[in-house]
């Protein structure tokens, strides 16, 4: 699926990476500016650790399936 082209897994990596950055950013902002109506289990700060998880997976996939890189 990648001979001479970009792998689908690279596109998925980009998607997870961008979403992860945006979600972690939103989560960090909420730590400093708490929302007026917090969600249930706000104290767990799910957007920070879930976003970080997506970010890490995205980064790994982007690097591993970078166009031109031999796997």
């Amino acid at each position: 699926m990648r001979e001479g082209g970009i792998s689908i897994w690279f596109f998925i990596g980009v998607s997870l990476l961008v979403n992860g950055v945006l979600i972690v950013g939103a989560g960090i902002r909420e730590v400093f500016v708490p929302p007026a109506n917090p969600v249930v289990l706000f104290n767990l700060h799910a957007n920070i650790w879930w976003g970080a998880l997506l970010l890490v997976f995205g980064l790994v996939y982007c690097v591993k399936f970078l166009p031109g890189r031999k796997t």
Binding site: M1, G5, I6, I8, F11, I12, V14, S15, L16, V18, N19, L22, I23, V24, G25, A26, G27, R29, E30, P35, P38, V39, V40, L41, F42, L44, A46, N47, W50, G51, L54
Partner: protein, 567 residues
């Protein structure tokens, strides 16, 4: 379930922040970018309609499953879990896993070796042109209708959840699907389906995780459901001894024979929408592994669909009702359980990802329908019946235009459904008319060499006609339900199960009788198409953990364990 979603509720469940909008916009930009990128790799018919037959087992398997995670799958089955309890999981386990494993191990070699482009194409090779024409026309018709219903359901969800204008949602989503499928063909649809599959999990998996934290684990969740609803809601099999003892009004024979043996096998082994993804595999081993990989992930889907519905029974402060009651009282309906759970746990960013997961589900289902329609129209109707000897480039061009046309017809269907909500019920029923008899025809064709062309055609026609007849009989005289579904206490779900069973039996019996009355083909003509006269390629000497049969066994063991665990 579709009919229940037909009545708009003028409320907005969630409000998106800037970061949520950014995530949704990025998703649309990425799927269009994938379509544009793949445009340069779709020159021949094999490229455009079969993705070059170069997909790995993982990509074909995830795409196979993602095409099924359509419009009603996420919202509808979460709602069904709230309404009927864990019984809804039957549609993911016995209603899918055995059939997917059977497709991979038994049926895939015949589809793959015959090098057919489609399921109607296989019928042409096995039974002749009349059977292909009958199944191709009915499939094409039903596919665009279902695509339109998916589209309307998605627009309705976006209106209810986000307050978005229905016309805006229909046109933006359909134009996006039309662009990326028309540009890149099946390869683009498959690429995007894999992306959509990952996003669905990334966006939806957090709900059950946080829900279980709030409920205090599975044991406490069961206790809360028993208190708020009934203990029956967490049992998969033990309440199916009679029609009356379970929320779904169904008997175990309906689940095992109707759902597990007929509807499930019919859908997963003969519906070209899903089979097309597996046909794109790069070799026979990948084609056999793809449905097994799909089955493994299918077993997990209840975690993001059924469990949120069950959690809703335990943790939501309000009682959800049917759509009519919700409109009358200003409350929330069953169909809103997933968005309600999403807004309960997901703040900025996560909310956008969750909404993206819903949109991705809708678009993967729509793209699946459109790409399957395009292939069946171009190869099994246009090339077979209208223009037989054109160039490959002509058929690719037809495929691109047909994609746009298929989307436009789907949009038209969506508006038709919007105007006449009851049409949804009829189209859903129409779709079910063809699945069970088609399965009877295909399975006899593959496993019984004595089946003849006339037998296949008349069996398919008789099975379809009998299904329509039974449906009309119950519509005209509701008392007929006791004969069709074997009990006056049966409900809609049970009627569908038994109608499928009877129509399959009619198809098989007629096929056998007519086949014995007509002349069979000789073995040479059936080589590559029928079990017993086809040399199945031996698998290379690979370790056991590379063999499809090994992984099918592993999946089967987990399937049995899950059913016992939630008995």
């Amino acid at each position: 379930m579709i009919a229940a979603m037909a009545v708009p509720v003028p409320t907005t469940l969630v409000h998106l922040s800037g970061v949520d909008i950014a995530i949704i916009v990025f998703y649309f930009a990425l799927v269009l970018a994938i379509g544009l990128y793949l445009r340069g790799r779709s020159h021949t018919g094999e490229d455009f309609f079969m993705a070059g037959r170069e997909m790995t087992a993982w990509i074909a398997g995830l795409s196979f499953l993602s095409a099924n995670l359509g419009s009603l799958e996420l919202m509808g089955w979460a709602a069904a879990a709230y309404q009927y309890g864990i019984l809804a999981a039957h549609w993911y386990w016995i209603g899918a896993i055995p059939a997917m494993l059977f497709l991979g191990i038994v049926m895939m070699p015949f589809y793959y070796i015959s090098k057919t482009h489609s399921v109607p194409g296989y019928l042409k090779l096995r039974f002749g042109e009349p059977s292909r024409a009958l199944s191709a026309v009915s499939f094409a018709l039903m596919t665009v209708f279902m695509s339109g219903i998916n589209m309307y359901s998605m627009a309705l969800v976006l209106k209810v959840v986000l307050g978005w204008n229905i016309n805006f949602s229909i046109w933006v989503s359909s134009a996006t699907v039309a662009v990326y499928v028309a540009l890149g063909g099946l390869r683009s649809a498959i690429f995007n389906e894999v992306l959509q599959f990952i996003l669905i999990w990334a966006g939806a998996a957090l709900i059950p995780i946080l829900g279980l934290v709030e409920a205090g684990g599975w044991s406490n969740l069961r206790l809360q459901i028993a208190r708020n609803a009934s203990a029956e809601y967490t049992h998969l099999w033990s309440t199916l001894g009679t029609f009356k003892d379970n929320p779904m009004g169904i008997h175990w024979t309906g689940i095992v024979l109707g759902l597990g043996f007929i509807i499930s096998f019919g859908y997963w082994t003969t519906d070209f929408l899903v089979v097309q993804r597996v046909l794109s595999a790069k070799d026979l081993r990948s084609a056999k592994m793809a449905p097994i990989i799909g089955a493994a992930f299918k077993m997990l889907v209840p975690f993001i669909v059924i469990l949120p519905g069950l959690l809703g029974l335990a943790v939501l402060p309000m009682k959800l009702t049917g759509e009519t009651a919700a409109v009358a009282t200003g409350g929330h309906s069953y169909n809103e359980v997933l968005p309600l759970m999403l807004s309960r746990y997901c703040g900025p960013g996560l909310l956008g990802l969750g909404i993206t997961a819903l949109i991705a589900g809708f678009m993967s289902g729509m793209a699946g329908n459109v790409s399957a329609f395009t292939t069946v129209w171009t190869y099994d109707i246009y090339r077979a019946l209208i223009k037989k000897n054109e160039s490959d480039a002509h058929y690719v061009s037809m495929g691109r235009w047909c994609t746009v046309l298929g989307v436009l017809i789907s949009v038209g269907t969506a508006y038709l459904v919007m105007s006449f909500a009851s049409i949804m019920d009829y189209v859903q029923a129409l779709f079910s008319f063809f699945i069970a008899p088609l399965y009877g025809t295909v399975i006899l064709g593959m496993l019984w060499k004595r089946a003849t062309g006339a037998g296949g055609f008349w069996g398919l026609l008789a099975g379809t006609a009998s299904s329509i007849g039974m449906w009309a009989w119950v519509k005209i005289n509701p008392a007929a339900l006791r004969y069709v579904a074997l009990s006056p206490n049966a409900r809609d779900m049970a009627e569908n199960m038994y109608r499928a069973l009877w129509s399959w039996i009619v198809c098989v019996v007629v096929t056998i009788i007519v086949s014995y009355m007509t002349k069979a083909k000789n073995d040479g003509e059936l080589s590559g198409l029928v079990y017993g006269v086809t040399a199945i390629p031996q698998e290379a000497a690979v370790p056991i953990y590379h063999r499809p049969a090994f992984w099918a066994t592993v999946v089967a063991v987990f399937f049995v364990a899950l059913n016992i665990l939630f008995w």
